[in-house]
C-alpha cells in the first residue's frame, strides 16, 4: 500500500508486577498525507494542495522521476527494438527506412565474428569472476583476522579500484611491454625465461589472459570489500556456539563462514558479471580488441558495428539480443540469490 492513514496506536502499557494497573489505550488518528503536506507548505500553495487525494499527491511526487525515466530509458529501449527490424543507417538520415523483418537477427546470429566476440566475452567474464571471487574472498578472510595494521592494508588493497579504468589500461600497456615492461621482468625474475620472449598484448594466446589479469588486479578489491561486509555480518556468538559445539576450524569455515557469507559473494558475482559483460574502456585502452580481433568483446564489436560501420539496424538487433540474454540471466540469478538470502 502506498498510503496509510488513520493508524491506531496503543500506547505502552506501563505495568510492572508491583503496581496494580489496567490496560490503557489511546487512539490517535494520523493526518492524511495531503494534510501533512499542506501543513508544511506556504499558504497559497497549501490551499491548492489541501484538496488533493493521497493518491494524487503520491503521483505528484513520483511523476517527474517516472517522466524522466520514460524519456531517457524506456523510450530509447523501445526505439532500439523498432530500429532492429529496419535497414536504418544513422549516417544516411535521408535514405528511406525499410521494414525488413527479422533479417538483422538472422544476420547477427549467423555471423562468425559475433560468435567469436561472444566467446571472447565469455572467456573474459568467466575467468575474471572466478579469479576475483577466489582472491577477493581470500583477501577478505585474511583482513577479517583483524591483525595489527589490517586497516592500513585494506586501504592499500583498495587503491587499484579507485583509479580510472582508462588510466589503468594505459599504464598496464607499459607494464606489459616486452622490453621495458615491469610485468615481463617480474615473470622472468621468478621463472628465468627471457622477458622479451613473450608479449602479453601482442600474442594471440596471451592477450585474452592479459585483459583478465588487469581486470582482476583492478577489481578484486571490490569483491573483497563486499565479502568483508559479509564476513563482518556473521556475529561472534555464532562462532562461539560452533566452538562449544566442538566444530573444527575447517568445519566452521565450510558450515558457517562460507554459507553465511554466500549471499554477499553472490551479490559480488552479480555486480562483476554485469560490469564485465559490458566491459569496454579498459580493454579498448589496453589492446584495442587486438591482436586481430582476439580480445574484441561484444561491447567493442557492437560499438564498431554501430558507430564505425554505421549499421544501425544490424547493431540494434545485436543490442537487443545482448539485452535479452543479460536480462534473462540476471533474472534467473537474482531469483537464486533471493532463495539463498531467505534462508
Amino acid at each position: 500500500m502506498f498510503v496509510r492513514a488513520g493508524v491506531r496506536t496503543p500506547t505502552h502499557n506501563n505495568c510492572d508486577n508491583r503496581a496494580a494497573c489496567g490496560v490503557m489505550t489511546e487512539v490517535r488518528t494520523d493526518p492524511t498525507i495531503a494534510e501533512r503536506v499542506a501543513a508544511s507548505t506556504p499558504e497559497p500553495l497549501a490551499r491548492r494542495v489541501r484538496g488533493l487525494s493521497d493518491r494524487a499527491i503520491a503521483w505528484a511526487f513520483i511523476g517527474p522521476t517516472v517522466g524522466l525515466l520514460l524519456a531517457i530509458n524506456i523510450f530509447p529501449l523501445l526505439w532500439t527494438v523498432y530500429l532492429s527490424f529496419t535497414n536504418y543507417r544513422a549516417n544516411r538520415p535521408n535514405e528511406e527506412i525499410l521494414w525488413i523483418g527479422t533479417r538483422n537477427y538472422e544476420r547477427v546470429l549467423t555471423d562468425p565474428d559475433i560468435w567469436a566476440a561472444m566467446q571472447a566475452t565469455a572467456h573474459f567474464v568467466v575467468w575474471t569472476i572466478v579469479l576475483q571471487t577466489v582472491l577477493g574472498f581470500g583477501l577478505a578472510w585474511l583482513i577479517d583476522r583483524k591483525f595489527r595494521g589490517s586497516a592500513f592494508w585494506t586501504t592499500i588493497i583498495l587503491i587499484p579500484m579507485m583509479l580510472s579504468s582508462a588510466v589503468v589500461g594505459n599504464f598496464w600497456k607499459f607494464l606489459y611491454q616486452p622490453q621495458i615492461g615491469l610485468f615481463n621482468y617480474v615473470v622472468s625474475f621468478f621463472t628465468g625465461i627471457d622477458p622479451s620472449s613473450f608479449d602479453m598484448i601482442g600474442s594471440v594466446t596471451l592477450a585474452p589472459w592479459a585483459i583478465v589479469i588487469v581486470d582482476t588486479w583492478m577489481w578484486t578489491p571490490y569483491v573483497m570489500l563486499i565479502c568483508l561486509a559479509g564476513l563482518r555480518s556473521i556475529p561472534d556468538y555464532i562462532y562461539e556456539a560452533a566452538e562449544v559445539d566442538r566444530a573444527s576450524p575447517w568445519r566452521q569455515f565450510w558450515s558457517i563462514t562460507l554459507p553465511m557469507a554466500l549471499p554477499f559473494i553472490m551479490l559480488a558475482v552479480l555486480f562483476r558479471g554485469i560490469e564485465n559483460f559490458k566491459m569496454f574502456d579498459l580493454v579498448v585502452q589496453l589492446t584495442g580488441g587486438g591482436p586481430g580481433s582476439i580480445t574484441e568483446l561484444t561491447s567493442i564489436n557492437l560499438k564498431r558495428e554501430a558507430f564505425e560501420k554505421w549499421r544501425t539496424g544490424y547493431s540494434s538487433a545485436l543490442a537487443v539480443i545482448l539485452f535479452v540474454a543479460v536480462f534473462g540471466l540476471a533474472n534467473i540469478y537474482v531469483k537464486a540469490l533471493n532463495r539463498v538470502k531467505q534462508r
Partner: protein
C-alpha cells in the same frame, strides 16, 4: 556429569577487574545461579568456565581435570546463549544435529539422539523450519536441544530467558528446571533476575562489582544476607533497612517511637558495635497491629499484588525519614494517607554494620534459615 571447581579465578580487562579472585565448587548435578546486576562479572565468570574467555589468574577444574587453558571444544560443556545463537542458514534439525556431526557421529546415532531430545522438548513439529521463523521461546527450546543432544558434562546458560516476555519466561523457567531434574546435569545459570534465581537454583552466587557477595541456598540469601547489597538485591522489594542506635533490648530507628526488637541470640554480637547499626527486616516480617505496635507511619502508597497488598509506609520525619515496605492482607482496607502501626517478628530481624556493610552476628540466623529452606520463599 561433572563437578566444577573455580580456584582463585579472576579476570582483568586492562586495569579493571571484571572478576576479582573467586572460589566456587559446584557439585555434580547441582544447579547454581550466578546472580547480580549487569556489569557485575557474572557473564564473564560463566564465559571463563566455558573457555570462551581466558582467565587472568586462577585455575578451573572440570570433573577434577584442570581445563584452565583448554579450548571450549576440549571441555565437554554446552553453552546456551542469551540470543540463542542458532545457525540461521540451517534448519532446526540441522542445528540440533550440528554438534553430533562435528564429532563425526554415525548417521543412525545422530537420528536417534536428535529424535530423543526433540521428544524431550516437544519440538518435533519444528524440525524443518528455519530458526528465524520461530518464536523466541521455540528458538530457545531449539538452543536447549542443541545443548542437550551431545550429553555434555555441564550446561552453562547465559541469561537464556532474558530475551523472552514475562509469561513465556515463567513457562520456560519451569521447563528448564524440569529438564535439569530429568537429566541431573550440572548447570551454571547466569541471570540478573533474582526471582528466576530463587525459583530455579540449588545455590545462588550473588555477585556485585566484580566480587562474590554471598554463596548460599535461595533461603540463605533471602533470610540471612551476608551484607547490605544482598539484602537490598534479593527480594522484590528488597529488605527494609533502617539506620538506628542500640538502646537496651531494642534498636531505635527513624525518629521517636519507632523501635526494632533485638532477639536474645543477637545481643552479645551487637554488644561489640559502637551502638550504630542498620536493622533489616523483610516486608512479611511486619504484622499490622491495631494500635500499639513498635513502629508506625503514614501510608504513602498501596500496591495490589493479587494475593496480598504491599504497603509503602513513610516512617519518621526529617533526616531519619524512610519508606518501609510491609505486606498486608489483600482485603486490608488501607488508604493512602492513613496512619498505620505494626510490630516486627524478632526472629526475622537482621543487623548490619553501617560502615563495613556486613551482616552482624551472621550464622546466628543461618541454622534457622537452612531449616527454613522448605518454607515458601516469597518474592
Amino acid at each position: 556429569m561433572a563437578t566444577i571447581e573455580l580456584k582463585q579465578v579472576a579476570k582483568k580487562f586492562g586495569n579493571n577487574w571484571a572478576v576479582k579472585p573467586m572460589d566456587l565448587t559446584i557439585a555434580d548435578g547441582e544447579f547454581v545461579c550466578l546472580l547480580g546486576p549487569s556489569g557485575c562479572g557474572k557473564t564473564t565468570t560463566l564465559r571463563m568456565i566455558s573457555g570462551l574467555e581466558a582467565v587472568t589468574e586462577g585455575a578451573i577444574l572440570l570433573d577434577r581435570r584442570d581445563v584452565t587453558w583448554r579450548h571450549p571444544s576440549d571441555r565437554d560443556i554446552a553453552f546456551v546463549f542469551q540470543f540463542y545463537a542458532l545457525y540461521p542458514h540451517m534448519s532446526v534439525r540441522e542445528n540440533i544435529a550440528f554438534p553430533l556431526q562435528a564429532e563425526g557421529e554415525k548417521k543412525e546415532n545422530i537420528d536417534k539422539r536428535v529424535a530423543e531430545v526433540v521428544d524431550l522438548l516437544r519440538i518435533g513439529h519444528l524440525l524443518k523450519a528455519r530458526p528465524s521463523k520461530l518464536s523466541g521461546g521455540d528458538q530457545q527450546r531449539v538452543a536447549l536441544a542443541r545443548a542437550l543432544v551431545r550429553r555434555p558434562a555441564a550446561f552453562l546458560m547465559d541469561e537464556p530467558l532474558g530475551a523472552l516476555d514475562a509469561e513465556l519466561r515463567e513457562t520456560m523457567r519451569a521447563e528448564i528446571k524440569q529438564l535439569h531434574l530429568a537429566q541431573h546435569a550440572t548447570t551454571v545459570y547466569v541471570t540478573h533476575d533474582q526471582v528466576e534465581a530463587m525459583a530455579m537454583s540449588d545455590r545462588i552466587v550473588v555477585m556485585s562489582a566484580a566480587e562474590v557477595q554471598q554463596i548460599g541456598s535461595p533461603a540463605q540469601v533471602y533470610y540471612d544476607p551476608a551484607n547490605l547489597f544482598v539484602a537490598r538485591f534479593i527480594g522484590s522489594p528488597g529488605m527494609n533497612l533502617l539506620k538506628g542506635r542500640i538502646d537496651g533490648e531494642r534498636v531505635q530507628v527513624s525518629g521517636a517511637g519507632n523501635t526494632v526488637p533485638i532477639p536474645a541470640s543477637y545481643r552479645s554480637a551487637l554488644a561489640t558495635t559502637g551502638g550504630d547499626v542498620v536493622a533489616g527486616f523483610r516486608p512479611e516480617a511486619a504484622a499490622i497491629s491495631g494500635n500499639g505496635g513498635s513502629m508506625g507511619g503514614e501510608i504513602y502508597a498501596v500496591d495490589m499484588h493479587g494475593s496480598y497488598k504491599l504497603l509503602h509506609v513513610s516512617v519518621g520525619e526529617g533526616e531519619g525519614a524512610s519508606i518501609v515496605h510491609i505486606r498486608s492482607d489483600r482485603m486490608a482496607p488501607y488508604t493512602i494517607g492513613s496512619p498505620v502501626r505494626f510490630d516486627i517478628d524478632p526472629d526475622m530481624v537482621r543487623f548490619f554494620d553501617p560502615k563495613s556493610e556486613r551482616a552482624l552476628g551472621r550464622g546466628i540466623a543461618s541454622p534457622a534459615a537452612r531449616n527454613d529452606s522448605k518454607r515458601e520463599v516469597g518474592q
